[in-house]
Amino acid sequence: MTESHPQVLDKVTGASIVASAKFDSLRSFVDLAIATEGGYAVVIGWIFDPLDKSRGMARLSPGDGKAWGGDTEARFGWLSKGLKRNGRDHRQFIRHPLVHGVDGTQLVRVERSDVSAAMNQTPGAGRDMHGFILTTPVPPSEEPVLAIELTDDRYVLLNCRWVRTPGDIVAGLRQVSSLPQSTLLAAVRAGLGDEHPLFALVRDMPAESQLASSGASPVKSVFARVVKRAQGRMGAVLNDLSQLPTNIEKPETVLVSIDRGYPLGQAGFLFFGWYLTPKQRPKGISVCDEFGNQVQVADRMAPISRLDVVSAYRSRFHNVDEMCGFVCLAPIPTYGGEPRALCFDFGEFGETWLKIPSDKTASEGLTLAKDMLGVIADPARVRTRLFEIFDTSLGKAIETVIAARPPVKKRIDILQFGTAPAEPRYSVIVPLYGRCDFVRHQLAHFADDPDFRTAELIYVVDDPAIITEALDLAARYHEVFGVPLRLVWYGENRGYAGANNIGADLARGQDMVLLNSDVLPQHGGWLAILARALEKLPAAGAVGPLLQFGDGSIQHAGMYPKTDATWPGFLLNSHRHMGIAWTGGDGPSEHPMLTAACLMLRTADYRALGGFDENYVIGDFEDSDLCLRLRRYGKRLYLVPEAKLWHLERQSQNLDGLAGNRQMITLYNAWRYMTKIRKGGLVDPRTVEIGR
């Protein structure tokens, strides 16, 4: 079989290629190899590999000598990448039948019980996954060389006879579909969908007059026959998961309801709901895809509190467990719209199947993350396990969603009011969210401060709802207060970190001040006081002023780590001495962390650190995160109470004061913060030693 590929053999030592006939136990066959005019190769065939000798399939690049001896990633990019992305070895593809390659390659594994039978194996569920349909883009003139990669780094070339003309293609498809193993084509539709090139190929066949005189559309008839047989063969459960129920009440075995599922691509499938098993524990609980692949999830289902279920079923069952809810991250790659089923196995009492509705809505990023956090309706009742729930399912899922957020739209609008200083000494960045009338108040307090003649003031509108109001306010109050300012907006909500990072990109000042809109100076000259401290104090990386409430009590005079016995595992921040009158005098003091409600640091440092970490949800911990990264570089953080500002914050730092979803967001952020500390990305604030 190697003779037909001289260009490959030129680059390869004979020992690298083995004929499948010579390789014990491994058998393979290509039923049909199609090269379409649209630039796709579609290969239908099977691999019988009872001893798990293969790692996966590879497309060999003719003439690419380096590919053979080089790294696997480059050699088998289209296949290996998809698998490696999952962090597992190549054989995983057997378990994960739908592989999406980066270049548009798709590999589907399908059942071939005929192969099992032919090889004297007993056909059965999960044991017949020998078949494959491969679709890969290739230049129209090229015929790709396909091989099975073996675990000992050798290859078995797949012998393909390529068909190209419409007539040959249809004839070949008819032949394939008339075979007993015709589930192939049904799987194309079920697994790849209408968008798949193979499906288009079948659908868009040349008119029947060109092919045969049978009168009926050969393609349609072929397809109809194929689907019918496939249904018979695959069984009702796996053939159409969409027909399954989403809740089931069988008091003898299980009462279960699946509330929602979130497809997370390669990261898996997050779903939640509740179940009661009044009589007996299930032998296994598994998640299945439409090809029959099954992963056991019983030990991945983290129990969560469902008082609603308790109150609904208490009258019927005496022992309704409050912790009957669950959230689970199933390690089964799932993309939007793909059906998944949940199976409770009660052994001799049979199996119970139900569908996991897969979220197909367009929500993403923050909206989706907030939605997913709502899974834990009552965090306080699972507080002892919450950190672990984040660790095993929810945290990972949200990290995936947040990391997959689309990048900020390129279009950023900027309007300058008045003339900014040519070479500003300071850049003052103020994000606006929800409420923008603070602009009026800040400008009134900046107007007569000479420092603002050398400062550029940047308001970042991080809230699409207030853009018009912000523009009107800026135009109107710039006129009367005369403080030059720049308004930046981009029609979306990026959160506190994102907004500041966008503002920081525009900053030209040597020093940067991150400022909340509800902070007002008590006196002029505060910028110069902070800048002097930043310059003079030993190893200063950032400095912050004393922030006081309107009544003069401390709002912020340094930030410290704190743990909370009611939320084991989480690390939180605390503003020390909050609400107590300030008696500390004007001298500077070092603290482990400082709030970013008003923080001055060098613009170059901020950029070198990459700014705020945008992957916290909404706005928590960004400032402590930034402070602890500064500390990683040996920088120290000082409170400079000679500069005094008011901070009119009402938001509680206390977890118990936050409403459900907001509390969960903070807890997620706290988990993420702790995770970064554990991994060494941040200095552990509990170990910071304060210099005297």
Partner: protein
């Protein structure tokens, strides 16, 4: 010297004491040699042109738009260097811009003045407590109690939809503009102390009464044989703060015999605009008082002298502090003693037994006892008339203002 006097209303449209005080000052200034004064009074939109915030009322007499609300006091008119108001200021090029109030106009106008006329001195006359109190500047709590001290937390108890921080912001915002004024004037020491307690920081803060155009006393009413000095008059708007209901309650509670030997004339209107509950209360009390009380409706300040001829006493019922009520000075001017509550600006202007008599504020029983005492003591009226303080004559008051304007220029701290 060129002076611009700004008022939150023009007396042609708005007949309040503050508006008149500003208007009289403008007239007084124009009578002084070497002084040119302009009046700029806020008016309702219908009185103005469509596309300008300014309109001419007369010579050096302007109307200006504006609808700043008490909650935030922020201007609704253009504030830029090219605004009509800024153009007018630059054209006048005043030495002094005197704000007689900031409500309606908008607090930002102080900075517009500072921007347009950097060398002009800015003077501000304070009236009630609008900078301090969102409840119409009365320093009366929304549950009716008197308020003694500004505190954002207590303000929040009056207006639950506003947070303490909102009041703090409002205070900071107003103070950022007050910092631009070179001097403040309060017509009463009581009001001055309240603003100092609120934290107003200024080097110049004087008490100067609002001036009244000069006029002569009117002789006491001629009495019939044996008739007591029993004719009382109320001048002013009829609203809950002015406390007409307190006076009516006192009269309704008097023995019939006392009621027969007295009368109350009410000069003033607006009852129809008051809240239903208040209106009903007043109407019920009026019915209870019968012939003792007569409602005369709205009057013009020019009529006061004539109206005073037929009365013996001027009576007030205010349930709020008051600043320096014009009606007290009018009574002194025309030679009538004043009966008023014993709080705030009223207690400062009328010390019990000097210029009039006071009763326990908000207490109709106390007032009723006082009325009985007045009706029983035939000599009381004459005794009190001999103690009437001088009224603040416009010319003298105008010169006090000019002295203040000059003194700021010389940088004299008060």
């Amino acid at each position: 010297m060129k002076v611009v006097v700004l008022s939150h209303g023009h007396p042609v449209f708005s007949k309040g004491g503050g508006e008149y005080a500003a208007y009289y000052l403008w007239q007084g200034l124009n009578r002084e040699p070497g002084v040119e004064a302009w009046f700029v009074g806020r008016a309702h939109p219908e009185a103005l042109h469509s596309f300008s915030t300014l309109a001419v009322m007369g010579e050096r007499d302007y109307l200006i738009g504006g609808n700043a609300i008490i909650a935030d006091l922020t201007a609704t008119t253009p504030l830029g260097a090219d605004s009509d108001f800024a153009e007018l200021l630059r054209q006048i090029d005043p030495d002094v811009v005197h704000f007689h109030h900031y409500v309606h106009l908008g607090i930002e106008l102080l900075r517009v003045v500072r921007n347009a006329c950097p060398r002009a001195r800015i003077v501000m006359t304070l009236h009630e407590f609008i900078a301090i109190c969102v409840n119409n500047g009365q320093m009366v709590k929304t549950d009716g109690r008197l308020c003694f001290h500004y505190s954002p937390r207590e303000c929040n108890l009056c207006f639950r939809h506003l947070k303490p921080e909102d009041f703090f912001l409002r205070e900071r915002y107003i103070k950022s503009f007050f910092a631009l004024a070179d001097a403040f004037i309060s017509p009463s020491d009581f009001l001055r102390r309240r603003y100092l307690d609120w934290g107003l920081e200024t080097r110049h803060f004087e008490v100067i009464e609002n001036g009244l155009p000069e006029d002569d006393r009117v002789p006491p009413r001629t009495l019939a044989d044996g008739e007591p000095r029993g004719r009382f008059a109320y001048f002013g708007q009829i609203n809950p703060y002015k406390g007409v209901d307190v006076i009516l309650e006192a009269i309704a509670g008097l023995p019939k015999a006392s009621r027969k030997s007295m009368s109350l004339d009410i000069f003033g209107g607006s009852l129809e605009y008051q809240p239903e509950a208040f209106r009903q209360k007043v109407e019920t009390l009026l019915a209870a008082c019968g012939n003792t009380v007569h409602l005369h409706g709205v009057y013009d300040p020019a009529e006061i002298g004539r109206l005073m001829r037929e009365v013996d006493w001027v009576v007030m019922g205010s349930i709020w502090w008051e600043n320096s009520p014009l009606v007290i000075q009018e009574a002194y001017k025309f030679g009538r003693p004043v009966i008023c509550p014993d709080i705030g600006g009223m207690a400062e202007k009328v010390v019990d037994g000097v210029g009039g008599l006071t009763y326990r504020a908000r207490d109709s029983v106390s007032l009723a006892a006082l009325i009985k005492r007045i009706l029983a003591d035939a000599a009381l009226f004459d005794r009190l008339c001999r103690t009437l303080p001088p009224y603040p004559a416009l010319r003298a008051i105008t010169r006090q203002h000019l002295d203040l304007y000059e003194s700021i220029g010389q940088g004299i701290a008060v």
